[in-house]
Amino acid sequence: MPTNGAPTKITQGSRTKGGIGESTLRPDGTLKVTGEFAYSSDMWHEDMLWGQILRSTVAHAEIVSIDTSEALATAGVYAVMTYDDLPTEVKNYGLEIQDTPVLAHGKVRHHGEPVAIVAADHPETARRAAAKIKVDYRELPVITDEASATAPDAILVHEGRDDHHSGHVPHPNIVHRQPIVRGDASRAAGRADVIVRGEYTFGMQDQAFLGPESGLAVPDEDGGVHLYVATQWLHSDLRQIAPVLGLPESKVRMTLSGVGGAFGGREDLSMQIHACLLALRTGKPVKIVYNRFESFFGHVHRHPAKLYYEHGATRDGRLTHVRCRIVLDGGAYASASPAVVGNASSLSIGPYVVEDVDIEAVALYTNNPPCGAMRGFGAVQACFAYEAQMDKLAAELDMDPVALRQLNAMEQGTIMPTGQPVDSPAPVAELLRRVKAMALPPERQWESSEGADVRQLPGGLSNTTHGEGVVRGIGYAVGIKNVGFSEGFDDYSTAKVRMEVVGGEPVATVHTAMAEVGQGGVTVHAQIARSELGVTQVTIHPADTQVGSAGSTSASRQTYVTGGAVKNSCELVREKVLEIGRRKYGSYHPAWATAELLLEGGKVVTDGGEVLTDLADLLEGESVEVEAEWRHRPTEPFDLRTGQGNGHVQYSFAAHRAVVEVDTELGLVKVIELACAQDVGKALNPLSVIGQIQGGTTQGLGVAVMEEIVVDPKTAKVRNPSFTDYLIPTILDTPTIPVDVLELADDHAPYGLRGIGEAPTLSSTPAVLAAIRNATGLALDRTPVRPEHLTGTA
């Protein structure tokens, strides 16, 4: 097995300072940790108004009437708008299916759905005016799960569906269904010596980004609007916003403002259209900022899921077949549900070789909060279940759980259940070997000369144990995530790169519409430009819609796709620069015509290292600019009946070993260590790579032991929309996270890189659960696991 293999295809740039492979620092890092960074919620405009949204207090109801008169009569209120005030025939939006009303019409389908919007000269005035709007609801029964969604007399969440999935779904309350059938699972089951089955439950996780939804819409003189907003994909927003406003896209200008995290929660629109509507109605700038409470209603969450699995194996541990059924709760609106179904189904058996599979994934329409994109995107829920199954199988076979996984691990050349060959390194067994080989933290690590250090024990500072009842457990998991948009989506990015001389220095400017949401794209793009153009000075232009789309900051795709676009545009710029050089200096040196030329250290050099000219001289009086789209290899849709198709671009793999201490009497858990090994293809910025892996690992830990939006099954109302009761890990809950990074190049990808942001979120959760099972001996078929589940008091 090769280790830390050198990436391929680097012809340029290894000698320019601050280029790829270096841990250059984030330009916004210091600003963020010192509180100086301007987030979208910090924007201010002279004479601006504040927008406020009135949201439904019930989950499912007919709207009998809306009376806005009292709100409109409130001093300081400039506008109140309901569905009836929408300016065009386009009144819905949506990422894939336009099923989401800008403002509720006749019906609300989930708790917290926007019903009316208000603009006033003070946020408090807007809030109070919104509270004066009288909405008369006639409540309807709520649909909350598969049984109520598909019951014979079930109310249809969306009447008269005519979207492109409505024709093939078994019930109108199912958004999308994707079966995958390969081989013959029934026959293969006959070969199994051992069969294990399980039913698993995955709770609703929230992205819990720290910067709530916010933005500022400023009316333009030409009748258009300029929207400054924190989002994940400017052009996707634009495509959905403009038709509702009745404006051409050219009159809706968008600029990315400071984003305080995203994790998928900003893929869907939140306040964008509302702010623009109010700004155009009042002729004044309108700012909207959600508070934390509203934020829990203002974005989609991770799909909660029920997962039914059957795994079979021969006595020697070879998997014979997998049958599974994954039921994702999409909530009231489609959002990204269809694509989540595609991921959940196609990645449902994990990074293993199984020739005979029978898979089905569906997403439901219910009256629960809408669910959509979140880091890991369908692969997270599946990983939790298939890794629990692998442990169950190992126990049944009396095999080491890591050895069982390694025995069945996929590798380069393995055929996925979709029929797609894995055509780049897939070091699954090696990743497991590496996490297992890491030294374990010492036993009873809480003991100190001064007694028990409660910070190192379950319960922490709450002082619940000094070692009593504490049992250590160790668990392993590995996962597979696709990188980039799949299933035939035209997943391109655009980059505009300019090179010129400023103050006697060659400077490159990189302009993309990429949303920097914390992933580090701005750092990496500058590194790519330095490496490709041989300059040290790189300016990253603010992201806006004055340049073509950069696609979404999601699916672990930005370094790959927009990074690829930046690389490509840089290469085109480089060619133009060299053309200028040939024109200017070609007659002075034969190397201009014969040698392979590079841009390095601000100079044009031959591949032999001979300097031909300074870029500053070459570019004197010239500037070179290229804007170009770049695409990764195309993908295909999955067949709707068999799920066959080359649907994915690339795969990403990570493995975790979790070490936990469980207070078995109180059911409290302290994760001591979460070791991770991940193949990243090529670490363009090693420090950022470690940061992504540690962040993803921690987000996975959160949903293992604490993070869950609790929805009342009787009313479909959210019970814990606050950081008081939606808990995310503190630093004391966050373990040591040793990371072992592999760099096995993917020859199809720029620099051989692999998208990295999501894979660590997958295996972290099942590894922690496995460790808790190991400590307690309990079956634990749901996540997050709560103290009552560990103490028989649920």
Partner: protein, 296 residues
């Protein structure tokens, strides 16, 4: 919402007399959350931050008078020896930033069953010094909590201080939350041994409509310790006694199912905490006894 800013305690009392529905605010760690969530919109806020006296503490012979606004951080740092139970409880309050602002007066004023200080105050024995323009009185902690988020204060009264008995024996405090720091109690338990009176006192948080003592458990344990001569012989408490004590503490609970935990879990966890804190305090008592005997 009007903001009243008295410069002295007398002015504060006068303001409260004039506006009995005014909500006192000091650290603001409870009140501001309520206001931000719009759960509460009082006509007046009575800002006590200019009343310097409230930030002071003073040790008397048998008790410590802790000003209502003394931040938890100060209690942790300065009163660990005299008030170990309250210091341990203070340590579990939220985050360092909150502990720098919040004080026991706020916990008492809000009187939430989940307030972290209550079980420690109940176990140690305390009196709330309440005052109005009509005069000052001391309310025994056992009589202070009257219902969910209700207390024995008259509308015109303000909390000036709490008088907490100095520890005459080991004290412990445990709190269960579903996170290892910065978490609201699912339930909490305080225990204080009082060797001078040969009694134990308990305090339970978040497991009944108000903070409570497990009186039957205390009486059982008092009798068992007396009967077995434990206070004098310093023997290890028999497991059956600890177990029975734990059961009685569980039995004292009257919890609910909510988003933070089930009633069944709360009862169970209070029992576990009762047993463990009894072990810790008793071990500590035995250790101290051995040290004293060794010295003698």
């Amino acid at each position: 919402m009007d903001f009243l800013r008295p410069a002295s305690w007398e002015e504060a009392l006068a303001a409260k007399a004039e506006h009995p529905t005014a909500v006192p605010i000091a650290g603001g760690t409870d009140v501001m959350v309520e206001i931000n969530f719009d759960h509460r919109r009082p006509g007046h806020l009575l800002d006590l931050t200019r009343v310097g006296d409230l930030y002071e503490w003073e040790a008397a012979e048998d008790s410590v008078r802790v000003g209502a606004s003394v931040p938890y951080t100060r209690i942790m740092e300065n009163l660990r020896a005299e008030l170990p139970g309250l210091a341990l409880a203070s340590h579990t309050v939220a985050s360092p930033q909150i502990r720098n602002r919040g004080g026991v007066g706020g916990n008492l004023g809000t009187a939430s069953p989940a307030g972290d200080a209550h079980p420690a105050l109940l176990a140690a024995g305390a009196e709330v010094e309440a005052e109005s323009v009509r005069g000052s009185r001391r309310i025994p902690i056992d009589e202070f909590y009257t219902g969910v988020k209700r207390n024995a204060l008259a509308p015109d009264e303000l909390i000036r201080a709490v008088h907490v008995k100095k520890a005459d024996g080991p004290q412990q405090y445990s709190k269960v939350g579903t996170r290892n720091a910065m978490v609201i109690a699912v339930c909490a338990f305080g225990l204080a041994l009082h060797p001078r009176t040969r009694t134990v006192r308990t305090g339970i948080g978040s497991a009944a409509p108000t903070p409570i003592r497990a009186k039957a458990a205390e009486e059982f344990l008092n009798a068992a310790l007396e009967e077995g001569g434990f206070w004098d012989n310093g023997k290890i408490i028999t497991p059956s006694v600890a177990q029975r004590f734990a059961q009685l503490c569980s039995g004292a609970c009257n919890p609910i199912d909510d988003v933070r935990g089930t009633a069944s879990y709360r009862r169970h966890a209070v029992g576990v905490m009762a047993r463990r804190t009894l072990t810790w305090t008793w071990e500590s008592y035995r250790g101290a006894r051995r040290l004293t005997e060794g010295a003698a």
